[in-house]
Symmetry: C2
Subunit: 209 residues, 2 copies
DNA sequence: CGTACTTTTGAATCGCATCAAATCTGGTGG
DNA sequence: CCACCAGATTTGATGCGATTCAAAAGTACG
């Protein structure tokens, strides 16, 4: 399958620094909802990067329950596979999409030998950690309004946020039911706490009114 | 202040790979609850690593509210400062403790020039990302029991977990009030879902009884 | 011993999840 | 262009579970 590098770089700026030898080794793969791409215990042979659709890392618990360890719609999934000899989880698709497959050995070599690529990778990881820490703090807030405001403040610029996804997907990211998200947005709008014009949501400071 | 390297390595295995030149440059610093160590906008000059106590990254919102972006009890805080020219948040202490201060330039140099240290750092970041992703998924679960079981399955070994902190602190990590944690643990114990012997909490599979 | 903190249980309240249903939207095919 | 469909958006009513306030008992530390 051919790869649209411009689209991929749009999604993952890191790929701009991808060294040429690695670039030729990348494979593109489509997947369909319901498919299981890898199983727990398998030996990872590639770093996976989701371009569209949605993958879940799922662990099958002792009590028979499935537990989602990670869900990914855009970006690298199962980064831990880089360090470990076996997948800790199943990787399953919950929505049709495509992914890139970077051969693991070549990926490691590139990280060792190509400083700009390595720097980009380090930077990406550091950002990821920051984003995820903020997300965890947000999910610990137990009111819908606080989570929404925390999100705008974290992910937005100067209190203004451009929503890159449907509100339903946003609700899932915030750990809220979509109904509550809609209701709370309306309330905050009515109270004058924020402006909501389609994809642009802005906080209105109480001081500056 | 003298540094107890054995204790520090216990907390952060990464430090075992710390190159000697960097080791001599590390400074130890005590802090007290309430103290503000750095302010938003300041230029970071060091990587900070919490050994004890608790630090918060706090952002002061447009609406005057304080929002916690990250809390850290053991490990590196504000890793993003490595890449950026200014702190995005205030760094405040909420409990007395100590931290290590790694001069930023030397830290960057060590990452560039010392492969084992760099590999250890990459590994640590990858693990961190995995842990945090799991934590986010966990916090999206909206029942106390599910969060507890998810935690045991994620952070434990074979369904057995050794609790390294007070239950109250665990409750905070799970995003629950401590009362609900106690109550839910009791219920799960009574239902035979898990065993709870002081610091050792184990899931009991329904099948294997 | 006394103090501070954790652990534990109880009762009341509030907010979110859930079920239901209507409207709106974008995209497909006739 | 219009009919149609799937999915997103929006509003309402209800129940449950987590938070909160309160208070007691246990525990560690000086």
């Amino acid at each position: 399958m051919n790869i649209d590098w411009n689209a991929a770089i749009e999604i993952l700026p890191l790929l701009r620094e991808l060294p040429d030898p690695l670039r030729t080794l990348v494979q593109s793969q489509g997947f369909r909802a319901g498919e299981t791409l890898h199983r727990q215990g398998e030996r990872p042979t590639a770093m996976l990067c989701v371009l569209s659709g949605e993958l879940h890392l799922v662990r099958h618990g002792l009590d028979g329950h499935e537990r989602v360890m990670q869900r990914m719609r855009r970006g690298f999934i199962a980064e831990a596979s880089m360090e470990s000899a076996a997948y800790h989880c199943d990787i399953m698709a919950v929505a049709d999409g495509t992914l890139l497959r970077f051969p693991l050995a070549d990926f490691r070599t590139a990280l060792e030998d190509v400083p700009p690529f390595r720097r980009a990778w380090l930077q990406r990881l550091a950002r990821e950690v920051r984003t995820l820490r903020a997300q965890s703090e947000r999910l610990r807030l137990n009111s819908a309004a606080e989570r929404i405001l925390h999100f705008i403040e974290t992910e937005g610029e100067e209190g203004v946020m451009l929503l890159q996804q449907t509100r339903k997907a946003w609700a899932a990211e915030l750990g809220l039911s979509h109904e509550v998200l809609y209701r709370t947005l309306r309330r905050l709008r009515e109270e004058g706490v924020l402006q909501d014009e389609g994809g642009r949501i802005a906080m209105r400071s109480k001081v500056g009114g």
